[in-house]
């Protein structure tokens, strides 16, 4: 009782603190932009967590869905002036189609086929994006036409207007994950993750459940891709479909706690803070490379000390805390 209660209040306090960030005395656009980057990072982790953490299907190429969301929105806007409010649907549809193709082929099989297929597909999309230069800008990347501050184009010179949609996305995905973990569909996904044979024996349609989980995760990822390109105003093949991006998407849940609602939020926040701190320390003490070393070391430490993610030890700590 105590834990749930204090957890909720800490969460609400954090959301209010982030939402009111621009009004804080020390706040500037650098800090706001850093928080928005964090929120986008977290939201991607939350989307991946649905299929990999809750559904147990290891996607190693989730950048595909992210890249489709970003490119679809940006290309539609530049070439035909389609506003991102409509472009986002095209991105989600494209991600859904690719998800159905990958899942439809590999989810009837067990083992590594799905994970392999996601890698192959993301490599293929990276190549395609580099090849179709006229459409995607190729290696140089794709720059979203900037038409000045507008709600219609979801564009802004200042980062601040992106803070609230990004925060809303993270809060929304958190609530969705909480609901999923308790819902019938979410329980079936977790049953499939824990034991496919037993899930089948329990009457769960394993193939369909995995496919629906991937579909949801892909659409969630594409939506973040749209927000990403609106905020950064640029996207390139490596950033969209590359394996580094795919790994980035996996880290928040792995660090924070796979298959939990709070995990990606915690993991994403801790990672960005650690990254910024080590960056700062490295330039402050003028030791180039220190940041990467310290950052990598910290991640290793977390993975070794809390292999189930940070959310486990943290909730144990809150439970132990005297009243």
């Amino acid at each position: 009782m105590m834990t749930r209660f204090s957890f909720n209040w800490i969460g609400i306090a954090c959301v209010l603190a982030v939402a009111s960030l621009p009004a804080w005395p020390f706040s500037d656009s650098y800090i706001v932009a850093a928080v928005i980057r964090t929120l986008i990072f977290i939201a991607l982790g939350q989307a991946w967590n649905v299929i990999a953490g809750i559904g147990g299907q290891l996607s190693l190429g989730h950048g595909v869905f992210f890249g489709l969301g970003a490119y679809a929105t940006a290309i539609l806007f530049n070439l035909w002036g389609v506003p991102p409010w409509i472009g986002v649907w095209a991105g989600m549809l494209a991600a859904a189609l690719v998800a159905v193709a990958i899942g439809g082929i590999t989810f009837r099989l067990r083992g590594v086929y799905f994970a392999l297929a996601t890698v192959v597909i993301s490599l293929a999309f990276e190549k395609l994006a580099r090849f179709f230069v006229d459409l995607t800008g190729g290696d140089a990347g794709f720059a979203l036409q900037f038409l000045g501050d507008s709600w219609w184009g979801l564009q802004s010179r200042e980062p601040t207007p992106f803070l609230w949609p990004a925060l809303a996305l993270v809060v929304g995905y958190y609530m969705l994950t909480r609901w999923l973990l308790r819902s019938r569909f979410g329980l079936e996904l977790q049953a499939v993750r824990d034991d496919e044979d037993a899930a089948t024996a329990a009457g769960v349609a394993v193939f369909r459940t995995k496919l629906m989980g991937l579909l949801l995760s892909a659409v969630m990822t594409a939506l973040v891709g749209t927000l990403h390109v609106q905020f950064y105003l640029t996207i390139d093949p490596g950033n969209a479909f590359g394996l580094f991006q795919a790994v980035q998407i996996q880290l928040p849940s792995l660090i924070g706690g796979l298959g939990t609602a709070i995990g990606p939020v915690l993991g994403g926040a801790v990672m960005i803070i650690a990254n910024e701190a080590t960056n700062w320390a490295s330039s402050r003490f003028d030791v180039p490379g220190l940041d990467v070393l310290a950052y990598g070391g910290l991640l290793l430490f977390i993975v070794i000390r809390a292999p189930e993610g940070l959310s486990g030890p943290l909730s144990a700590m809150l439970r132990r805390r005297p009243r």
């Binding site: 993750r193 824990d194 034991d195 037993a198 024996a201 009457g203 298959g259």
Partner: protein
Amino acid sequence: MSEVLRVEGLSAGYGDLIAVHDVSFSIGQGDVFVLLGANGAGKTTILRCITGLMSPRQGRIIAGGAELIGKKAHEVAKLGVSHVPEGRRVFTHLSVEENLGVSFIDARAKGRTLRQAIDEIYALFPRLSERRKQHAGTMSGGEQQMLAIGRALMNAPDLLMLDEPSLGLSPLMAELVFERLAVIRAGGTSILLVEQNSSCLELADRGLMLANGHVVLAGDRAALEDSDMVRRAYLGTN
């Protein structure tokens, strides 16, 4: 006597290998039927054919008036045929109550609510009610087996099929599981049991013995107990 399952001329195999050859049997309502035989004799293959995890080469499998062959595995569970796979397969990260909830199918509820169905399982296995919020993966082997059986009973099946339920359990726990199976049978549920443990014979009404995919013996409990083959294989006497 009404039948809950009839298997006719079932043949199945993997590639060139024929695992089961022309097997026929039927199970009446409230009966306990045992499949005996050494490892590799074809017992699990028969279960896999009934549950829809495998397509047989030939034969018919009829339950509740419906042909099971061609049905998808998750649909068979909705036809009143429940399956406890070998090896205590529980959903380790879900709680006991969530494990039970996942397998509850409204169409099979027969007017019971989810709560009532879960309480029936708790009445059968009081230990599970003490563990209701616990993650299934943290329970003992015996408790996990109780949960696996409880999960299979959530839809009040006409036929409960168990693949080696006593495997890896302590003798005491195995005894408890068989004792609970007797209670389940007394409630009118038929049971198809694949078992290496000789205690299962005490429970059996009828059964058959397989060797290399062929039926080598079929009959009631007395016939099974009197058989030299069964004695040698199961009772350790000559």
